[in-house]
Structures are given as structure tokens and as C-alpha cells.
Amino acid sequence: MNHLKRNIKSACLVLIIILLLQMGYFYYNLFLYSDRWFSDPNNTRIRIDMIDPDIIPGRIMDRNHRILVETKSVTGRNGITTYYRDYHSYSKFAAHIVGTKRYGIGAEAFYIRYLLGYDNNLIERIYQKAFMDQEVGNNVILTIDVELQKFISEAMGTKKGSVVVMNPETGEILAMVSKPSFDPAKEGEKPADESLLNKASYGRYPPGSTMKLVTAAAALEFMEDIDNYIVECNGETVINGVKVTCYGGEAHGKVDLSQAMVYSCNAFFAQVSCEMGWKKLKKTGENFGFNKDFLFSDIRTTSSQLPIERWTDDEELAWSGVGQGNVLVSPLHMAMIASAVANNGVMMEPKLIHGIETRSGRIRFHESSVFKQPISAQTANKLTNIMIDAVKKGTGKKADITDVQIAGKTGTAEVGENKKPHAWFIGFAPAEKPTLVVTVVLENTGTGGSNAAPLAGKIVQKAFGMGY
């Protein structure tokens, strides 16, 4: 009897625990993912009716209220009014951001909740239903500036890759271009390969030397003697039995952290990575957001990976510290890393919705929010100074074409034999009080210093000309 009672008690406990776990799982998942599930292209509840729609979807506009997409109607000879989504000519410069419902990408698919006005409160919804003859959804005001999108898109030309321009203080994305692109207005055309993929948020690239920013941050946070730490680089340096070559076999001599960053010396960062060990590098990387699912409210983006573990050997660890190996990162994430450095160590959540304009013209602004603080303000300032030097006299010299001081870091990511490397540039300007973060990645074009840096310089010049 007694053992029965005891067993009943424990069985009851087990059952209740699994049921409560289920309840927890249910709520946890729904709070995290329900928006994503709702805006899935297979959700038949949010289809846009072409004839006699319940709700007419609203407009998509850029930050200057320039209309990118709106709903228009035509009345045919038979008297039937047909509604259709009209893409303005400018929308092709922001194709991946505007997107299409058909392919389930961009604002057209993911912001459908706003476009159809499902985010309105009960009173607003009932008011519309009761007193208006036609329900109309809300207008989405994006943070992008389509003029800047156009400039970047034309400056990139036919090169593949992507550019992200964002404000480090607010996390607002001013421009996000991915090439190759498509024209959403041409519905009949089948888009070319890769062109539907938003490489800025879904592209996963080896970061190359831009990763040194993370390694340097880790060194500044965790290594006490980093200021006096010197490595002798002779082009092909052997570190713990691993041969590390610098780009082009260039020998940098005796370098400290600052010089190594300025001249992008692989040997120094490989040595530092091995010295620190996997734990500290991984911790800093994960503070910056590596190995994490990003669940931002506005943007869907892939996760970045920094796969170093206890059993990672020295070779892998050394190469991870200089951004090769198995490290992969999206351009948007790299822009977030740069913005953390620019914003005194505080990483803002990237934001693509400026506000939602309701039918009555009232705008509900979306607040900026802090995503996390990966590094201290002190570290961020030290890194900024080093990055200024890198643009003034180092590898990023070609970005220095404007009056404003740019701080930056170039990257040249090897992608295999017989292929040109990916060119990277991450930077921000003006260096003293940054208002702009620029990330450029151009696929298979050569070194970051001679390909990505000049483009970044041009973008900064243009953006400042426009007043950002």
C-alpha cells in the first residue's frame, strides 16, 4: 500500500511536470514565432482578394514617405472593379526589402499584419467596420531611403554582393541592397538564380579580416598585457606548429595590436587567438551575436556561426581568429558588430519599420531598442581609434575620399583555390560621433582595400550629402 501511494505520488508529479512543460513550450514558441507563422506565404487567412476585398491593403513607403507600393483599382467594361498592387518604379532598387507576396519575401509578405490592419486595436477595427464603407489597412513606413538605395544599387553595378547602411544609435537601416536583384513590378518574369535571396540578411560569408574586430575586442577585454603584446611577422609565421600566412606573403615585422589591425596582419591575430584560447574568443563572439538565432521583430535574418569548441585544434582556432576557417557571417550581422563599436559598445536591434500610419493619418512610431552590450565603452573607443588609423594610413586608405573621418576595417575573405576572394569593408563615420555604419561585401572581386573600401567611401560621401 505504502509503496503504491509513493508511486502514485511520483507518477502524478511526472505527468504534471510534462503537461506543464508542454504548456510552457506552447506559450514560449507562440510568443517567439507566432508572427512568423502568421505571415507565412501559405497562410490562406491573409490572402489579398483582387475582387471585392474585405480589406484593401495599405501602402509601403520609405522614410521620406515616397510611395513604393500601393493598391490601385481598375473598373473593367463589365463593371467589376479589380484591385492590384502597384509597384512604383523606385521599388526595384529596394526589391528585397519591398518583396512580393508571391515569393513570400520582403515587406509585402512579412508586414502583411500591418498592411491589412490586423495590428489595430479593437476600437479602431470596430470603428472601421461599423462606420466606413470599405476597410483599409495601414501604411508601413520603412526606415530606408530609396534615393540612397538607388545610388548604392547603381554604384554596385553588376557586381554580386550586398551593402548595408545603418544608423548605429537607433539601429535604423537606411539602405540594404543585395545583388543580383529583380524587379518586383515585372510579375510575369521568372527571377534569375539567386536574385530572390536577400544576401544582406540571408547571405553567409566568411568574414575575412573584418573578423579581427571581434578578435581584437576579445583581446582588449580579456588579455591584460595586450598593450605591450608584440608578435613578429615574417609573412609566413609558424604559431604553435601552424603556418599562418599574411595576404600576399607580406612581412609586417614586429607589430602590436594597433599596427596589426592597421596593416591587417594575420600572424598577430592567429597568435592572440591561440593565446586566449577557444573559450574567450567564443564568449566574445557570442556576445556579439554569433551562434544565435536572431529573432528581431522587423527583420528575418540567418544566424552567424563561430564553431569553435573545446576540441577545436590550434589550426582551426588560429584561422577562426582571422575570419577564415568555418566562420560564417551575414552582412547585416557584420553591420551590427560595427555599430556596436561605433555606439560605445551598445548594439541596437536593427530596425526596418519606421512607423505605421493608420487610416486617420496618425503614425505609430516603432521605438528603437537595445539588443545587447557586447563590449565595454572603453574597448569600443580603443577599437575606434585603431579603425581610424586603418583608414588613414592602413589597408582602408581608399575609403578616405571625403572630408568626414571614416573609421573602418577591410577584409579579404579567401573562398577557395582559383577563385577571387570576397572583398569586405566595414566602417562608420564620422569617427568621433558616428551616425552611419556601412558594410560592403562584394563577391569574388579581390581585396577589400581596393574594391570594397572605395565603394564604402562613395556611399558615405553620398549619405552625408543627403544629410544623414
Binding site: M1, N2, H3, L4, K5, N7, I8, K9, A11, C12, V14, L15, I16, I18, L19, L20, Q22, M23, Y25, F26, Y27, N29, L30, Y33, S34, D35, R36, W37, F38, D40, N42, N43, T44, R45, I46, L122, R125, I126, K129, A130
Partner: protein, 474 residues
């Protein structure tokens, strides 16, 4: 009513429905905490829950009656009145006839059943009326079992024929049954089709309770093992994966409770895991389920369709739901049976969805408490086995719908459409209630009320056993 007016009405009523269910849930929870965790004697009362249930069913059916554009639909409204009448009649008849019956569990079950009726009325009105009929028939079973089982002198003597009957039925169905939804689990008898695996579940619990408690040595338990194995094989032969999983877990729990035999329990659990891995390797339909569970979005047009549609529906519902009649739960596959949880979450919202899981927690907690207070090992096993069966069944299907575990098709007890499911779920409830009634009679006989010392009870138990049975004969 005009579509727009209906939309306004339904949007407003979302708050009302959530509020009603929430009040019922809170009241049941408070009652349960008092009954189970404190020694305070609780007055036998139903609170105002029957009244709230009537309000819920009248407003929900009333709202649905205004949905049609051809004016007020009296049939639907009358159905709401009918449901209220059935619930009130059922509850108060039981309440006054059966002393010692656990009225809170009955009210929880009524709440779940009403949610099911409303959802079915909204999806397929013809099924709602049939579900209500099944509910009434199930209550007749409940009544008869509550009346007979506590007075039965040696229920154990029926165990042997049942042990033969159960697996035999399952194999007959596997050979000659009708196919539906990939499983061969239906049997047509005249005008009705039943799902015998459900009824055998009842046999399973009864056999496990009365057989295991008497047999002490391993050799004596061998017939029980044979019975369990043949039953599970019979269900597997019907390709009813959810049923097989349910039988297996119920056996595991009940075996552990009755024997404390960790060796065999762990060995069996290991064997079960091996069998699961084995079947994953061998059977393509198991692989499909597992892949759809890992990532339903990968093949959303094919394998992942069911689960992805359920997730989309729940994601669309949000906290308060889209409003009764404003969503499109009919696009979810099997939204009337296995996926009814997702359909309810879409229209009533995930607050109600979470509370449904909470209601099952309360049922398990209360029933296990009855098992704990029972005076005979067989009764303890009967009540705990029934609680385990209801708890695990709801866990398996809700877990499958919310993508927590791979989906296996079984019904959600008391809510899903299905005559066999409803009747058997209510019969399972009857087993718990019988034990509860017996507990009460025993306590009365002993002259001790709810505030007795537990040790005393053990002490007196053997002496009074004969006395107890003799009295029952009179």
C-alpha cells in the same frame, strides 16, 4: 445578419469567451488546490460553474446563430439551449445521486466538451449534433458504471475473458477493419462504425489494475505481459502509432506504480525506445512523421502540410483568437478530430488553448488524489491508470499539434469529434468517479470524515475488508 455586423459582434465576444473560460479555470484551480494540498474540509459545492457553462454555451451558439446572412438561425440557437439543458441535467443528476463523486472533474469535462461542441458547430454543424448525441450516450455509460462498479464484489473475475477479448478485437480490426487516415482502425457494425482500439484502451486499464495488483512474482505476471504485448502489436498492426504509444506509456506507468519494479520498467522503456528507432528505420510512414516534426516548413506542400497549417492557425489566432466564425480553421487538415486544438486556438486564442492544457493538469491532479486516497490496491491502480491515460493522450496529441513531439493521430479526450472517443473518455472518467464514490463510502463506514489520520486507515483496512463487502451485499 450582415457580415460586417457579425464581425463586430464576434470581435467583441472574444473577450467574453476568454473571460468565462478563465473564471471557470481559476475556480477549478482554487478548488483543486484546496482539495489536494490542504487538510481543510471543503464544502461539497459546484460554485457557479454550471451557470457559467450555460452562459458560455448560450452565447457561443447564439453568436453562431447570427452568422448566417439569412437572418437568425433558430436551429443553432436551440442547439445551444439543448447543450445547456443536457449539461445541467447531467450535472445535477450526478450531483444529487452520487455522493462522493468528484463534481469538479465533471465540470471540467463539461467545459472541454462544450468547447468541442461549439467548435464543431462552427466547422460542421451536422457533426455537432451527433457529438452531442455521443456525449449523452457517454453519460449513460458514465451513469451505469458509477452505479455498478462501486457495488461489484469481485471485479477481478472478469479480467480473464477481457484479456482474451481485447487483443482478439484488435487483430480482427487490423484484418477486417476499414481504413481511414492511413490507419485501419474502424469497424462497421450495422449503421455505426466504431473504433475498437478506444474500447480496448478501457479493457487495458481494467486488466492492468485488477491483474497486476494480485500477482506478486514475476512468473505470475507473465500473462499480463503477454496481454500487453499482443494488445500493442494489435494496435501497431492497425498502423495506429498514437494508440500504440499511448498503450505503451500507460502500461509503463501502471506497471511501475503497481510493482515498483524499476528493473523491468527501465528495461521495457529501453525496449520501447529501441522499437521506436527500429520502426523509424523500417517504416516509411514513421519517417514521414519524424521529418514533418523536425522541420514542417521544409516540405510544406507535402509532409509538413498538417503541422505547418496547425502552427499557422495558432500563430494567426494570437492571444484572444480571431473571433468565433472569423477564422478559417477548416483549412487545417482533420480540424474536427486530431487538430481540433489548433482550431480552438485560432478562434478562441492561445489563452484558452493554454487553459485547455491546464484543465487536463487539473483532471490528472484530482484523479491521482482519488487514487492516493483509495483503500484497495486495485482501486488505486484503476484511478491512477485512468488519469494517466487521459493525461498522456492529451499530451501526445497536443504535443503533436504544437510540434513538440512527432505527430501521431489520436483524439483529444472530451473535445475531438468521435463517438468511440467520447464514450470511452467518459467511461474512463467513470472509473475515476467509481473509485471516488468508493472512497467516500468507505470513509463513511469507518465513521471518519475527510479529516482522518492516514495511518489509522492503513491499520484498519485489513480488518474491515470483510465487513465492508458484506455490507455492500445488502
Amino acid at each position: 445578419m450582415d457580415r460586417k455586423q457579425y464581425e463586430i459582434l464576434a470581435l467583441t465576444f472574444r473577450y467574453w469567451f476568454v473571460l468565462l473560460i478563465m473564471i471557470i479555470f481559476v475556480q477549478c484551480t482554487i478548488r483543486t488546490i484546496r482539495d489536494v494540498f490542504t487538510n481543510r474540509k471543503v464544502m461539497r459545492s459546484s460554485g457557479n460553474i454550471p451557470f457559467l457553462l450555460v452562459l458560455f454555451s448560450l452565447t457561443a451558439f447564439g453568436l453562431l446563430a447570427t452568422q448566417s446572412s439569412q437572418g437568425f438561425d433558430f436551429d443553432t440557437a436551440i442547439l445551444g439551449v439543448l447543450v445547456s439543458a443536457v449539461i445541467l441535467f447531467q450535472f445535477y443528476v450526478f450531483y444529487y445521486l452520487f455522493h462522493g463523486m468528484d463534481e469538479v472533474i465533471v465540470l471540467i469535462v463539461d467545459t472541454l466538451a462544450i468547447l468541442g461542441f461549439v467548435m464543431l458547430q462552427r466547422l460542421t454543424p451536422e457533426l455537432a449534433i451527433r457529438q452531442i448525441e455521443w456525449f449523452v450516450i457517454g453519460n449513460v455509460f458514465l451513469f451505469i458504471i458509477m452505479l455498478v462498479l462501486p457495488k461489484l464484489r469481485h471485479p477481478g473475475r472478469f479480467v480473464f475473458p477481457l484479456m482474451i477479448l481485447g487483443p482478439l478485437t484488435l487483430f480482427i480490426v487490423a484484418l477486417f477493419g476499414q481504413e481511414s487516415g492511413g490507419a485501419t482502425s474502424l469497424l462497421g457494425i450495422g449503421p455505426i462504425t466504431i473504433q475498437p482500439a478506444e474500447f480496448v484502451k478501457l479493457i487495458f486499464i481494467i486488466v492492468m489494475s485488477y491483474y497486476l495488483d494480485e500477482k506478486k512474482t514475476f512468473r505470475e505476471r507473465i500473462p499480463a505481459f503477454l496481454f500487453v504485448m499482443t494488445s500493442i502489436l494489435g494496435v501497431v498492426a492497425q498502423k495506429d502509432l498514437g494508440g500504440a504509444l499511448l498503450y505503451f506509456l500507460v502500461f509503463l506507468f501502471m506497471y511501475q506504480i503497481s510493482t515498483s519494479d524499476w528493473l523491468i520498467t527501465i528495461f521495457t522503456a529501453g525496449a520501447g525506445v529501441l522499437a521506436a528507432v527500429f520502426s523509424y528505420r523500417i517504416f516509411p510512414h514513421v519517417q514521414v512523421r519524424v521529418e514533418a516534426w523536425k522541420n514542417p516548413w521544409a516540405d510544406i506542400g507535402g509532409k509538413g502540410w498538417q503541422v505547418a497549417q496547425a502552427l499557422i492557425a495558432m500563430g494567426s489566432g494570437g492571444l484572444l483568437g480571431l473571433g468565433l466564425g472569423l477564422g478559417t480553421p477548416y483549412v487545417i487538415p482533420a480540424s474536427r478530430t486530431d487538430f481540433i486544438f489548433a482550431a480552438i486556438c485560432e478562434e478562441f486564442g492561445i489563452i484558452v488553448g493554454g487553459m485547455i492544457i491546464g484543465f487536463y493538469v487539473l483532471i490528472v491532479l484530482r484523479s491521482m488524489n482519488k487514487a492516493y486516497e483509495a483503500n484497495e490496491p486495485a482501486d488505486m491502480l484503476l484511478a491512477s491508470g485512468s488519469a494517466i491515460s487521459i493525461g498522456i493522450q492529451s499530451f501526445i496529441i497536443i504535443g503533436g499539434v504544437i510540434k513538440m513531439i512527432p505527430l501521431t493521430g489520436i483524439t483529444l479526450p472530451f473535445i475531438s469529434y468521435g463517438g468511440s472517443s467520447m464514450v470511452v473518455s467518459l467511461s474512463t472518467l467513470a472509473l475515476i468517479q467509481s473509485v471516488s464514490i468508493k472512497n467516500q463510502r468507505f470513509a463513511k463506514k469507518m465513521g471518519i470524515d475527510d479529516e482522518y489520520e492516514e495511518s489509522e486507515l492503513y491499520y484498519n483496512e485489513d480488518e474491515n475488508k470483510d465487513n465492508y463487502n458484506v455490507d455492500e451485499e445488502v
